[in-house]
Amino acid sequence: MKIKLELFGASRDFSNKDYLEFEIEEQLEIKHFRKKIINYLNKNFKDNGAFIKIVKTSAFCSEDNQIINDNYKITKNQKIGIIPPIGGG
């Protein structure tokens, strides 16, 4: 199963692209997906404390633009957006 993580705000620094892709073997909840993202950051960035903090404080949104909680289960190929702490206007 493939999850495309769309990057916004400070999380855009996680990649040169607008997204990250994760290959997942089984259904997983957002709280476990969060750990997968942190694993990716640990593998790819040294001194990544600021990046990990972003992941820990971010919300996530589904393909149909709903904010989803940590218990939301990803069951199929889909796009998930990471929503770091906000501050526009």
């Binding site: 916004f8 705000g9 400070a10 855009r12 620094d13 404080t57 971010s58 919300a59 949104c61 633009n65 709903q66 904010i67 989803i68 909680n69 940590d70 957006g81 929503i83 770091p84 702490p85 906000i86 501050g87 526009g88 206007g89």
Partner: protein, 150 residues
Amino acid sequence: MLHTKIIDIKKDKIKTSIAEAFIKSSSYGASIIFNGTVRNINENKEVIGMTYDSHDELVIKSFEEIYKETREKLKIIDKAVFIEHIKGYVGLGETSIIIAVACKHRDQAYVLSRYIIEEIKKRSPIWKKEHYKDEQSEWLKGIPIQNEKI
């Protein structure tokens, strides 16, 4: 009566004149146009510009929800509201957001305008990256969005 738009600065321009025309068409007696611009100093650093990022669909949804709740929370029923926010890079002094409101009475217009900008700052998924005179840049710290509710 509501108008909302995310302006991608690479393709479009944000213009106060469009807000003025929208507000005039409503024929209410009291109107306010709030214009947010990039300021020159933040936390003792000299700012030369700002990059705005947004989750467009969620931002528009949040604008619509803020507009709807002003009826119950502020008891302002008759109103016209225009909200445009930019996305992309803008330089010092350039406009990032326009909020124009029109109501029957001036006290309502002031309350409504203030309420909308404060709620946008708390709830709309928009991010800012400041660019400094020394060529450094950084994403500004924000506030975590609440799960399951925007």
